[in-house]
Amino acid sequence: MVAHLDSLKFADNAARARADANLQAALSKLQRDTRLARPGIVGRLPEFEALRDRAVEIKNHTLANLDHYLETFEANLADAGGQMHWCRDASEARATILDICRKAGARTVGKGKSMVSEEIALNDHLIAAGLDVVETDLGEYILQLREETPSHLVMPAIHLKKEQIAETFRDFHTDLPADRPLEEPASMTEEARHKLREKFLAADVGITGANMLVAETGSIVVVTNEGNGDLTQTLPRVHIAIATIEKVVPRIEDALTILRILARSATGQEITCYTTTATGARRAGDPDGPEEFHLVLLDNGRTDLLDGAFRDVLRCIRCGACQSACPVYGAAGGHAYGGVYGGPIGAVLGPALAGVDKAWPLPEASSFCGNCQAVCPMRIPLPGLMRKWREVAHDRRLNKARRRIAVSLWGWAARRPGLYRFGARIGIGLLKRLGGRRGRFRSLPFASGWTAERDLPAPEGGTFIDRWKRGRKPGA
């Protein structure tokens, strides 16, 4: 059983993550590399910004007409011999998938990487029912052995050092010689390839996610670099793909537009090694491929997001760019968020999926620096959506009373400009005098969170409004 940390304890989780030197080294390297590489990756495709705009248009149009495109997809999939299963929530999806596995007489299930399967805790359910479930993505396989969850959308095992992974392989692959070399990623990859080949061949059912559903053809699009997604959907007799409703796009051309920004945003590649568009089950005359194809279509809270401001988050293509760019993710790591999705996307999706009462601290964990929105290929206004969750948490009195009172007081004053200016002038004068000649504070009541790690500069030269009236720029 893989247990998530508690989202309500984000601050404690993050503090523990800060003390983990291995994790900090891995996260700093990820963020530095991503930052340095981005100008080259983006600059190489002059049409990148235009493609982002187009991708936003595609998704906005699709979401506005979602019922039509899902019904179109369903009809074309049926034409290709595929079966569609509509599921409202995690428990319906789990039951549906187990039922398909049972009818197929399955004992071994091979799995491609799927965040939706994490969302519905599919593996635990299938294993509890007696099935042998094997993750085939290298990172996910390592995590399954270690009973951990992914900490990044596209680099699931980013939190682990190679020495930890080597130890895991030695612990679990006990049939192999104890002195085999496992020092480098290449030798570990080789070992995983060897072990997983047996599983691919033994699997009766293959389960994958889907990066996109194409309405006009009834196809799923699955992208991988390892090729595990393709072996998973081809070798077993039955292929089950799981996707949530917002994954659909109208046409093949629309999928191609999104492909041009997906890998670029995720890993900096032009395109992943394998991009497979699969349509239904094996055709007459095909020498290989699954005899049955099932698409499990899941809502799991998406229809609640469709109405209103949160619709924008349904454009997400799970590239992980916001995570790689976020300073809070870079300090806390993905696990601290306590849900399936960490980082800015997790701070917006977490309260929607788990309930705002169980995840309200996640949108609090942001300095609103805007990095996430700047890199998001789908231009999702992540900081704005986090702010909306903060409003909900405030209105439902979920956060600390002290914070709520302070914000309410500030709001009350901000609506009375004369009073606000007067108060600001008094406060600034007081802080300026108290700051004295040093001009900064080493500690201050109510500001220990700031002053514990750095000094607070004392204000200089009056309020912004006063200086504006005098025709001087602040800081001049």
Partner: protein
């Protein structure tokens, strides 16, 4: 209420749409946004295809005519110290090549777990990213692209196109949907890889460790 009706009903309420209401053609659909690198003369596109494929760690060998393919494949396998036994796609065009000029042992059919080398056709080469488009079907088993350690692809230079859209247009000339499409259409860009361990790029995870492209003939207008 069925889950289907429930979900569709919730979507319609959230989007304010009536069941079966017409969907306006979106303005964006009037144009296709193809990057400039996906456009060019056939000569430019072939050169870009080769450069991009090599950047993705594929190797590319060029031969003048189809009859030169068998010897080029045999020479590649010998040069890499690879087995001279291969599983080949049961395509008529590949089968008609003069393989008897080589010492290769060939079997035509889907890949088995013991096959170390495969030889397949590709439907297209795509210049913008150096990708190959392969389709599943009776003459091109899908497993040949993934199970063997070494994947050799025979591609006609005249089948190199600029952009993904161009290759897809060939794949569905009449806008094929559903069962009229091959079960799978895959873009392959370089050999299998992962960077899941400390973000170190490692080649050959579950799919082939080597992707070798034999490009046959010249692009239209190519002189040398």
């Amino acid at each position: 209420m069925s889950a289907r009706d429930d979900i569709l009903g919730r979507i319609r309420r959230a989007t304010g749409r009536a069941e079966g209401a017409a969907v306006p053609t979106p303005a964006y659909a009037a144009t296709t946004l193809v990057p400039a690198r996906g456009r060019g003369t056939p000569v430019e596109l072939v050169a870009r295809f080769v450069a991009m494929a090599e950047e993705a760690s594929a190797t590319v060998d060029r031969v003048a005519a189809p009859d030169d393919v068998p010897e080029a494949v045999a020479a590649y396998l010998a040069g890499e110290n690879l087995p001279s036994v291969a599983a080949m796609a049961p395509s008529a065009a590949l089968g008609a090549l003069p393989w008897e000029r080589t010492a290769l042992t060939l079997r035509q059919g889907a890949a088995g777990v013991d096959d170390l080398v495969s030889i397949t056709p590709a439907a297209a080469g795509i210049a913008e990213t150096g990708s190959l488009m392969v389709r599943s079907g009776a003459s091109s088993p899908y497993t040949l692209n993934f199970l063997p350690d070494t994947h050799v692809v025979v591609l006609e230079a005249s089948d190199v196109v600029g952009a993904y859209e161009d290759a897809w247009a060939e794949m569905r000339p009449d806008g094929e949907t559903g069962a009229a499409l091959p079960r799978t259409v895959t873009l392959i860009t370089g050999p299998s890889r992962s960077s899941d361990i400390e973000r170190t790029v490692t080649i050959g995870v579950h799919g082939p460790r080597r992707l070798h492209i034999v490009l046959v003939g010249k692009a239209d207008g190519e002189t040398t």
